[in-house]
């Protein structure tokens, strides 16, 4: 397994959930202009689309594009549904699945 060795542990299994959590919160903070304290308080149940006034449809486009850039993933049209954007936990689970898949 030469590839697994040369790319080190992180790529084979994707980044850890904690790393992903930190990165995703930073993306939400930067794209939506939220405060550090506000994103730090996000938990799995925190509502996103329909709950955060900053997250309108144009911001969704920016959010997904920045997730692609920073997490090195590709998000397809059919991936985008209400569930993935409904709560922070849903978005984190989606990001985790994508990074493992990539």
């Amino acid at each position: 397994m030469q590839t697994a060795q040369s790319t080190a542990g992180t790529k084979a299994t994707g980044p850890s959930r904690m790393e992903l959590d930190t990165t995703l919160k930073a993306i939400l903070r930067d794209v939506l202009g939220l405060g550090e304290d506000q994103v730090a308080a996000f938990d799995a149940e925190t509502g996103l689309f329909g709950h955060l006034p900053e997250l309108d449809s144009m911001a969704v486009a920016g959010l997904l594009t920045e997730m692609e850039d920073r997490l090195d993933i590709l998000i397809e049209d059919e991936d985008v549904d209400g569930e993935m954007l409904e709560t922070y936990g849903g978005l984190l689970a989606f990001a985790e699945a994508k990074t493992v898949e990539t």
Partner: protein
């Protein structure tokens, strides 16, 4: 402060376009490559703040308009990325630039030879992907289903309207493969050197004096140290 410059057009013609200049015929002169489309609107004020800082630090700077963008009278749908790259080379010569600066998607247009300071470059394919996504999401909100792959296929042959930006077929094809050229003499600026949230990620245009000062300081050091 505002001058006209002879921008080249893809068909070989010339168009008089506007340029914003801080020009006191100083030795070191910076060509600020204009970001494209929405990023231009979001970042223009910040770019001008950076230019003002550089002016105070003793450097000339020029921000030229491209044909088809900003105040230009030329139709956007007839422009191509290679045409804009050529126009930027023309601007570099016309204004006697010694260095270039590119923020975000402006890095797609860097002049061939000038040493450049580059911050947060964005690839053409990613730019296009983001623009297409904005359109499919808007369509979905309006109750229409559009697929990114279908839109791109149409765009390659007939051009595409993306959030009000009317892109011709060659522009779509150019963007799909466009990347930033980085020379050995370039200075790439990492986000960590600037701090704060990147302005181009926000939905609305903004400004940040401390980020502008930090970027200007790095660009000034680069221009001062290198010719």
């Amino acid at each position: 402060m505002f001058v006209e410059w002879p921008a080249s057009l893809p068909d070989g013609g010339v168009s008089g376009e506007m340029a914003l200049t801080f020009d006191r015929a100083r030795e070191r002169r910076l060509l600020v490559v204009p970001p494209l489309f929405e990023e231009h609107n979001k970042l223009r004020r910040q770019l001008v703040a950076i230019m003002r800082n550089l002016d105070r630090a003793g450097f000339d700077a020029v921000l030229p308009d491209l044909p088809g963008l900003n105040e230009s009278g030329e139709p956007l749908e007839r422009q191509t990325l290679s045409g804009w790259r050529h126009a930027i080379d023309v601007a570099a010569t016309h204004f006697g630039a010694t260095h270039a600066f590119a923020l975000r998607n402006a890095a797609l247009l860097l002049p061939e030879r000038l040493p450049a300071a580059i911050h947060a470059p964005h690839k053409g394919a990613q730019l296009l992907r983001g623009m297409v996504r904005a359109r499919t999401i808007a369509a979905r909100e309006a109750g229409r289903e559009e697929r990114a792959a279908d839109l791109l296929q149409t765009g390659r042959e007939a051009g595409l309207d993306l959030s009000g930006w009317s892109l011709g077929p060659q522009m779509i094809r150019d963007l799909e493969n466009a990347d930033c050229r980085i020379l050995e003499t370039d200075r790439t600026i990492d986000p960590g050197e600037i701090g704060g949230a990147p302005l181009w990620l926000r939905a609305e245009p903004g400004e940040d004096a401390s980020q502008a000062a930090a970027l200007a300081e790095i660009v000034a050091a680069f221009m001062g140290a290198q010719r």
